[in-house]
C-alpha cells in the first residue's frame, strides 16, 4: 500500500522551462517536506509545511516554490530550472507529535534532469 506517492518518477526538462513535481500522502500527516538530493550527497531540506504554515530554509533559492492545497497534496515548483537543479527530489511526511518529531516517511522520489 503506497503511503507517499510522487509523480512523475522521472522528469526531463529544458533549461529555464518551469516544472512541477507532485507529492501525495494517504497517512493524514500534518507535516510535509521537500528535499533535494544530488548524487552521492545527503538529502538537503528545501522547505516544509506544518499544516498550512510554510517554512522555507534560509538557503533555498527563490527559484523553488511550494504549494499545499490540502492535507494530502504538496507541490514543488521550479520556476526556471538550471543545470545545477538536476537531482533527486524527495517528498516526506511526518505526524505531529507532542513529544517531538517522529519518523519521516519518504516517497520514492522524482529524478529530475535539466538539459
Amino acid at each position: 500500500d503506497a503511503m507517499v506517492i510522487q509523480n512523475p518518477r522521472y522528469q526531463v526538462t529544458q533549461f529555464g522551462k518551469p516544472v512541477t513535481l507532485s507529492c501525495s500522502q494517504t497517512l493524514n500527516h500534518n507535516v510535509m517536506y521537500w528535499y533535494q538530493q544530488k548524487s552521492s550527497q545527503a538529502p538537503k531540506l528545501l522547505f516544509h509545511y506544518y499544516d498550512k504554515d510554510f517554512n522555507n530554509e534560509a538557503d533555498t533559492p527563490d527559484n523553488f516554490q511550494s504549494r499545499r492545497p490540502n492535507t494530502s497534496f504538496c507541490f514543488l515548483d521550479i520556476r526556471s530550472p538550471g543545470l545545477g537543479d538536476t537531482a533527486m527530489y524527495l517528498c516526506a511526511t511526518s505526524r505531529d507529535a507532542a513529544s517531538g518529531l517522529e519518523t519521516q516517511y519518504f516517497g520514492p522520489g522524482t529524478r529530475l534532469l535539466v538539459l
Binding site: A42, H48, M88, L101, E102, T103, Y105, G109, R111
Partner: protein
C-alpha cells in the same frame, strides 16, 4: 552545516559479517534516527533512538547513543546482500519539525 557526520564514508564487507557505522553530531538533540536508501530510491526509516535512551534493537539492527560524546553507532549483524545501500543518520535538535541528515555511509555487501 550538517548536523551528522557518518563514518566511514564507504564500507565493503563479506556477506555474513557484521557492519558497524558511526555518526557524530555537533549540538544537543531530541532524538537520532537511522535511514536506509537503496540506489535511486527514497529513504526508509530503520530506527529512532531518543536522547534519554542508550541502546535500541530492531531485528538485526542495534543502535547505540552516547550523548556525552555526541555519537551514535548502527550495527547490522549477519549482513546480507540486500543490506547493500546507503545509511544515513539524522538528528532532530531544538526545532521539533525538521531533521538534518548526515552525509551517509555507502555499505556494500560482497557475496
Amino acid at each position: 552545516s550538517q548536523q551528522g557526520e557518518e563514518d566511514p564514508q564507504a564500507l565493503s564487507i563479506q556477506e555474513g559479517e557484521n557492519a558497524t557505522m558511526n555518526c557524530s553530531y555537533k549540538t544537543s538533540i531530541n532524538n537520532l534516527q537511522w535511514y536506509r536508501q537503496n540506489s535511486g530510491r527514497g529513504l526508509v526509516h530503520l530506527i529512532l533512538i531518543r536522547s534519554n535512551e542508550r541502546e535500541k534493537h530492531s531485528g538485526r539492527l542495534r543502535v547505540t547513543l552516547d550523548t556525552s560524546k555526541k555519537s551514535s553507532s548502527l550495527l547490522i549483524t549477519a549482513s546480507r546482500a540486500a543490506d547493500t545501500a546507503s545509511y544515513f543518520c539524522a538528528t532532530n535538535g531544538n526545532r521539533d519539525d525538521k531533521i538534518i541528515f548526515g552525509k551517509g555511509t555507502r555499505l556494500h555487501i560482497l557475496p
